[in-house]
Symmetry: C2
């Protein structure tokens, strides 16, 4: 019998989905599971996106390939209807449509670094960065941001400390998945200056850009002065418009060598999905009121989740200012064991809660074994129930 | 200024699309270009596929993620409505939905082999196999099949000759892109036996399975006896139903270790496109008459293209029995130069023809510099015009 390749066998399984078999078993047994584990929002997609698909399908005879870089109409409309509006002047040639934000950062990482090279990330970071680093022989070096400091970057010295001759890029998500941290203008300028000084790429994953809960305008990596040749932007239509299933994202750079390489990757997988591109074209007409409502709703959810979380004895989570996640420290030794125990053993009124252990969002081993990521993607009444269950579970559970 | 990674800089650009800038320039200048270069069929998608998308969008509030392995409904329906019908008994757990056939073979190759390991292919082969081999540090070793023998595999000795301790798999496409070669039952059994004997995976790309022009039933790698743990099937809904833009394919194996690894890859990119999965569900109701008409149409096109091609002095192409490609030898020294010359200089009634130089479909250098791949994806009257232009171009062109 043939053996799968060692690299594939050793590939880490998604930490976010590792507990899924236990939640499925609980649900099969009739238990109600409150899912605080995945960033799958329950917010309605914009009508204009779905109706664009319907409308275009009415006249569609042939679901054909598109240009590997995406439909010219979509690339142009994204530049004119979205990026111009948020203050980013772009040419369609500086934007390539990808299969979700996932393909965009996978490609960006490979463009920036090859086998044996290094990328600096800020921990905690999105776990799939580690997956793609692993698959490509790239080493992630982590700058630590601390839960007790609200995941702030105090200065750039952490980056300098991780710099080696093999460093090729800095990769951050802003707002950050999993911490909800929103990098300030000053932090972004400092990171940009660091990248420019050392000729590094700055891969900035801004898929949660429209989910920011401050009054200040979002400061994009694309707005860092004199950093155009360094910045590779990862973006997502899927996330922004609650169209996760369309799998439409994009990779953006003013560096034409980067875009030429992105096109080579794009050609190897032929094209991004046509029907999702239709949805994306429609989504660009989403009214501002949609985002205002979504933002107000997430602020309600965040405020509810954070207040109830921090009321639980021994629990601490700093207030997140972006995305729809927060990282919380729990009064347990192993958040992984606790999360599994909630799914397999703990029940309150035939219900339980699913959270994601946060250790795999960190590169440094052992420093976050008591932390979890919580996605506040449920409506307030559901969140209240979930937090009550979590509180009782923590009162019951004793592992030290 | 940061430099792109060496691996990315050295990544070969798509040979199939390398001439695109020249065809775009010709078209901008008002020249009519007959595209015999890409396998983008002009055949109408099945109505049931497009109307399934429309119908489901009517009731759709949220374009959400699906399971990473694809919608349970689609996996089950594919097993019951398609594979059972063609004589392949499958469980949904043996099938994972991918982003087109492209993702399926990229993942299959990585599951079978890691950096420094080898996969045996039959040349000529689909060029993107080389792209993904390159990106993953996998070496392709080629068994030669010859245009003058109709690309037949005479015996298995060619495979034995390429076998080394680093060999992990055999990868073939059947019917073959680019040659149109349809592997016989005997050839498949011999390859299966070779893989079993040496504990190799057999990755079989059967995305053109429904495009076969013989009266014998297609013999799938899944039907090779006692080869279930070896075979990884690459399949495509996009290709089969003329739904290329949906980007829906699948990876199939009875080897559960393979499927567990495929799921890890699938999770890292979250999910396949939802709207394309809707189209795929609808496509499964495509009536047999659709395929009969498509088959009859391709036979007309093939017969037209092959007869006109072989009538041109100095041109030879064996009759293909599957897919919608053929490889032809032209009376030129460099088919690449000739193809470019047609786009940049040659005009007949303000028209010209675009073909794909075939050298990059071969691993062995220099043996196919005079060959091109021709996709007979145009209607007969268009094909006739294209062949007349090709004939006149060859009469005019002299490079030796």
């Amino acid at each position: 019998m043939p053996k799968v390749s060692k690299r594939t066998a050793d590939m880490p399984a998604s930490a976010i989905r590792k507990l899924v078999p236990f939640s499925e078993a609980a649900e099969s047994a009739g238990v109600k599971v409150y899912h605080l584990n995945v960033g799958a929002p329950d917010i309605k997609s914009p009508d204009c996106a779905v109706s664009a698909v319907r409308g275009r399908c009415d006249k569609l005879h042939h679901v054909s390939y598109t240009n590997s870089a995406g439909l010219a109409e979509l690339r142009k409309a994204m530049c004119e209807k979205y990026y111009a509006k948020i203050g980013i002047e772009l040419q369609p040639s500086e934007l390539l449509v990808t299969v979700g934000g996932s393909e965009a950062f996978a490609v960006a990482m490979q463009i920036a670094a090859g086998p044996g090279e290094e990328i600096i990330v800020v921990e905690p970071f999105y776990t799939n960065y580690q997956t793609f680093a692993y698959l490509n022989g790239i080493t992630l070096k982590a700058v630590h941001s601390d839960i007790d400091e609200g995941f702030a970057l105090n200065d750039i010295s952490g980056f300098e400390a991780q710099l080696t001759p093999a460093t090729r890029a800095v990769l951050i998500s802003n707002p950050c998945n999993p911490s909800g941290k929103l990098f300030t203008r000053e932090e972004m300028l400092a990171i940009g200056e660091f990248c420019r000084r050392h000729d590094l790429f700055l891969i900035c994953d801004e898929v949660y850009r429209e989910f920011c809960y401050t009054d200040e305008p979002f400061f994009s990596a694309m707005q860092i002065p004199d950093c155009g040749q360094n910045v590779i932007l990862v973006d997502s239509v899927s996330k922004r418009y609650n169209l996760c299933g369309t799998r439409i994202g994009c990779i953006i750079s003013r560096n034409q060598e980067v875009m030429a390489c992105a096109l080579k990757f794009a050609q190897s997988r032929l094209c991004p999905p046509l029907l999702g591109q239709f949805a994306a074209i429609g989504a660009l007409d989403t009214p501002d009121s949609y985002f205002e409502e979504v933002k107000a709703e997430y602020i309600r959810r965040r405020d509810c989740a954070l207040s109830l979380l921090n009321d639980i004895p021994g629990v601490y989570s700093p207030v997140p200012y972006g995305a729809f996640y927060t990282v919380a420290r729990l009064p347990v030794r192993s958040a992984a064991d606790f999360a599994k125990w909630m799914l397999t053993e703990f029940r309150k009124d035939s219900s339980t809660v699913m959270v994601t252990p946060a250790a795999s969002f960190y590169k440094t081993p052992g420093i976050a074994d008591d932390q979890v990521r919580i996605a506040y993607v449920l409506e307030v009444p559901q969140l209240e129930k979930a937090m009550a269950i979590l509180a009782e579970a923590l009162e019951t559970y004793r592992d030290f």
